[in-house]
């Protein structure tokens, strides 16, 4: 196995065309921080896009940034911050979760369609990908979308490319929509609520006109692990609501939200930043010994009963709620999880909670033998296989990352 490291889009296309001709499989990486995400890939070669980096264009007044897929998110965040802007989808840092090091990149965040807590208000990575250039499994360089914020010309292939885990095409350039960074933020913390009380309260907050941009609930064990004093202080469960915007607006909305939900503690701008980053990376809030981590995306109102079903069946399990209940992190011990990572408990529970479950952290052997992603209905699976063949007929790009067989 060798690592092929192209320096531009043309070399990338040459490598993929060669691989296609020879029928060689390629694992696509850049920062390499998410190689343990998804089903394990056993490629013949590694296509390392980390040299396709650099910010190609950034025009703050256009709200548009174009960069190479290998550009680290940290440098993008810094360039945006210098102009008072940010990536609204809040790409989370999962290095501690996945046990990896290195620099997460823009291409990786897009390929895995990751989003942080602002998902409830601002959407996911797929909502910000305006356009891209890529090399498909035919070895052809192609592009879709545009470099302006509003565009419906042709199929919206950006949606398909985001979250395809590199199985359709290898990105060579990415254009994203960026947004102004809020002037300030604060977080309202309510202590001591049971899960089944907290989740409806998060929904109530999200349905209020007070523009909540983060809605999370930490049961006591998780709350106690937070390094933010205002969260861990009560040694009890913490329900957290984030408000962002101009100063007078945030002050007004915090009061209004308290009037609606009851008085709580408040985290200031700095504590807010620390807490929501901690929640985004999630590992620090989970039981240190629990190495199996599931990411459950249920119908939000069913989050508490889903969690209860899992907690009842799995003695070592713990949960953390984000996205107003739309995201439930579930961690448990490897021993209890067994060879299927506890899929036999999680999958049926998920079925009645209307959503999908992904096995995020587990030993490679477990991820190789049990479906990591929620299995697709058969008609959707057949269509997906045809879509895959339309981009990569020889299955050379990240084969097996999403689905066994392709």
């Amino acid at each position: 196995m060798s690592t092929l490291q192209p320096s531009d889009a043309r070399e990338t296309a040459e490598i993929v065309a060669w691989a296609a001709a020879e029928g060689r499989s390629l694992e696509i990486v850049a920062g390499g921080t998410k190689r343990a995400l998804g089903r394990p890939v056993k490629p013949e070669h590694v296509l390392d896009l980390s040299r396709l980096a650099g910010i190609v264009a950034y025009e703050p007044a256009e709200l548009v940034l174009t960069a190479g897929p290998g550009e680290p998110l940290a440098t993008i965040a810094a360039a945006l911050a210098a102009k008072g802007q940010m990536l609204a989808f809040e790409p989370p840092d999962w290095r501690s979760l996945l046990g990896s090091s290195g620099e997460p990149t823009l291409g990786g965040a897009i390929a895995c369609n990751l989003a942080g807590s602002r998902r409830v208000r601002a959407g996911s990575a797929r909502d910000y990908l305006l356009g891209f250039s890529a090399v498909n499994g035919f070895g052809e360089t192609w592009k879709a979308g545009g470099k302006v914020v509003k565009n419906v010309t042709g199929y919206d292939l950006a949606k398909l490319q985001a979250g395809a885990y590199g199985t359709l095409s290898a990105l060579t350039e990415v254009t994203v929509k960026v947004t102004p960074k809020p002037e300030t933020s604060c977080t309202l913390v309510l202590h001591g609520l049971a899960d089944e009380v907290a989740i409806p309260m998060l929904a109530q907050a999200l349905n209020s006109p007070f523009e909540v941009s983060g809605a999370a609930h930490l049961p006591a064990a998780a709350a106690r692990r937070s390094r933010v004093g205002g969260v861990s202080v009560g040694l009890a469960a913490a329900t957290l609501l984030r408000l962002e915007g101009p100063r007078p607006s945030v002050a007004y909305r915090a009061d209004a939200l308290e009037a609606l939900l009851g008085r709580g503690a408040r985290l200031d701008d700095w504590e807010t930043e620390v807490f929501w980053a901690e929640l985004g990376s999630v590992r620090p809030l989970l039981a240190p010994g629990a190495r199996i981590v599931w990411r459950l995306c249920p119908t939000p109102s069913r989050a508490a009963s889903l969690a209860q079903a899992c907690l009842t069946a799995l003695r070592s399990a713990e949960v953390v709620f984000d996205w107003g209940g739309g995201l439930v992190w579930l961690c448990l011990d490897e021993g209890e999880a067994g060879a299927d990572g506890a899929a036999s408990v999680v999958r049926p529970a998920m079925k009645s909670a209307g959503g999908h479950a992904t096995l995020i952290a587990a030993p490679e052997a477990v991820r190789g033998s049990t479906p990591v992603f929620e299995p697709l209905e058969s008609a959707v699976a057949r269509l997906s296989a045809r879509v895959k063949s339309g981009f990569d007929p020889r299955h050379i790009l990240n084969p097996g990352r999403m689905q066994e067989g392709w």
Binding site: G84, V152, G154, Y155, A381, S384
Partner: protein
């Protein structure tokens, strides 16, 4: 459009009879006089009655109709309310028009999960009406929202004046039920966030009825903002209005709406609705700020200051809800207002980088002379989405052709300055032949391969979006010759 298939036309009676067995009674229309009602959509320059129209009222019937058409090689054009401005619902002489108007019920209002489940024939505004008593609304607001359907919005990925802040249809639809041409029912997305596998929901939104027929839609609903105020700002040049837009966004403000009208559009609107627009301005800007009172007042003051720094010649902020609506009245009536000063107009829809607004409008002015036609401009300035309205008279020989040539020149210019052919109206038949100005053959091939995965015989809405019909077999072939490619000389580790 593709040449009508004579073999299909010859079997018309048999096809009609088969469709009647699936959709009984008045749900199948084959009389020439009645088919004329479907001969065009909002792009009235193109007209073609369908071979037959079918108006199913159950998903089961949709499945059966599509299965029959697939098995018999009959083309299908889906239609909602027929308000498309790009000819997306233009029928085919040898095709079935599948009207989804009877799917007009709201199925569920789920406040706890912040969504509404609706049938595709429910109007865009109908969704907001169903939830406004709860203080909630559906955000995308195309100007046809009284009439256009949510199913049509999904097909076209419709926008509206508020999409800079609240997103297009694609950002607000979380689930659909889609019937493929093979009659398979797919459930994509749902009430949960994201979904497993490829984002087939995301790629279906905006696919202009070419990938499947939507039979159910789940949309995100949002809390209605606490309040809103609008500013009406006059400028002595379009360039300074453009600079003001950049200034507002550069200051970190994303307004709920930010519109610009040029002098001709302002004059037409003022004559029509008497909104007290300043008639001395070369460009008029409407900026709406929404949120809690503290925020709105704070931002109104900031935007006023930015406008004055950019040479605003007049600036008024709304003091009441009535006044805010009056500011909008002229903009919302801009299209019919222009219709009063010209027998016909042709509405374009390119998007450009905002920095190019001044240059593009100057070029459009020059083109007025070149084509001998006038053009009024209204646009969603916040997102750089232009709506030039080319004025013409269809009764004068050659004027429609000149209007279309003028429109095509405007769209080529949009692409030339780094923009795109369509911001929210779709490609349809209208901009199909311009796709090559924005995309290479390889780009278009990749789009068509997606189409082939959904509809390998090209039976769903063929002739739209792509300058050439799909050649699925050819596109699927791998043109590689092992051993002939140079192994790249690259750093290896």
């Amino acid at each position: 459009m593709p040449e009508p298939d004579r073999a299909v036309l010859a079997r018309r009676a048999e096809i009609v009879a088969a469709l009647r067995r699936i959709v009984p009674g008045e749900g199948v229309i084959d009389k020439a006089s009645e088919l004329r009602a479907f001969e065009c959509d909002g792009l009235t320059a193109y007209r073609q009655p369908p071979m037959v129209a079918v108006l199913p009222d159950t998903t089961g019937q949709v499945v059966e109709v599509l299965r029959y058409c697939a098995a018999n090689g009959v083309k299908v054009v889906p239609r909602g309310a027929g308000t498309s401005l790009s000819g997306g619902a233009l029928p085919l002489a040898d095709g079935v028009l599948l009207g989804m108007g009877k799917f007009n019920r709201i199925l569920e209002i789920d406040v706890a999960n912040r969504c509404v489940v609706a049938q595709p024939g429910v109007t865009n505004l109908g969704i907001t009406h169903a939830v406004q008593g709860l203080g909630l609304y559906y955000a995308p607001d195309p100007s046809s929202q009284i009439a256009c359907t949510i199913g049509g919005n999904v097909a076209e990925n419709s926008g509206g004046v508020h999409c800079l802040k609240y997103g297009l249809t694609t950002n607000n639809v979380i689930g659909i039920e889609l019937v493929t041409i093979d009659g398979e029912i797919l459930r994509l997305g749902g009430k949960h966030f994201d979904a497993s596998g490829f984002d087939l929901l995301g790629v279906t939104v905006g696919s202009e009825g070419m990938l499947g027929v939507v039979t159910e839609v789940t949309v995100r609903i949002l809390p209605k903002p606490l309040g809103a105020r609008a500013l009406l700002i006059g400028f002595s040049s379009v360039e300074s209005a453009g600079d003001c837009v950049a200034g507002v966004i550069g200051a970190g403000i994303i307004p709920g709406g930010m519109e610009i009208m040029d002098r001709l559009a302002v004059e037409a609107a003022e004559a029509f609705v008497h909104a007290r627009y300043p008639l001395d301005a070369a460009a008029l800007m409407i900026v709406e700020l929404d949120g809690c009172e503290a925020e709105v007042d704070h931002l109104v003051a900031e935007v006023e200051a930015i406008a004055l720094q950019n040479g605003a010649t007049s600036c008024r902020s709304s003091r009441s809800e009535e006044e805010r609506l009056l500011f909008w009245a002229g903009r919302k009536a801009a299209f019919p207002a222009v219709g009063r000063i010209s027998p016909d107009y042709y509405c374009m829809d390119g998007t450009i980088p905002r920095r190019e607004i001044g240059r593009v409008l100057r070029r459009i002015q020059q083109m007025e002379g070149e084509h001998g036609l006038r053009c009024a401009n209204v646009f969603h300035a916040g997102d750089g989405n232009l709506h030039p309205l080319v004025l013409y008279d269809a009764n004068r020989p050659g004027e429609l052709d000149r209007a279309e040539a003028f429109g095509a020149d405007i769209l080529r210019l949009c692409v030339e300055v780094g923009g795109v052919l369509t911001g929210e109206h779709g490609v349809g038949v209208e901009k199909r032949d311009l796709m090559g100005t924005m995309f290479t053959e390889l780009d278009l091939n990749q789009q068509q391969r997606l189409k082939c995965a959904f509809d390998s015989e090209s039976l769903l809405n063929p002739g739209k979006v792509f300058p050439q019909l799909c050649r699925c077999a050819e596109l699927g072939r791998m043109h590689v010759h092992a051993g002939q490619l140079r192994f790249p000389d690259l750093p290896r580790f």
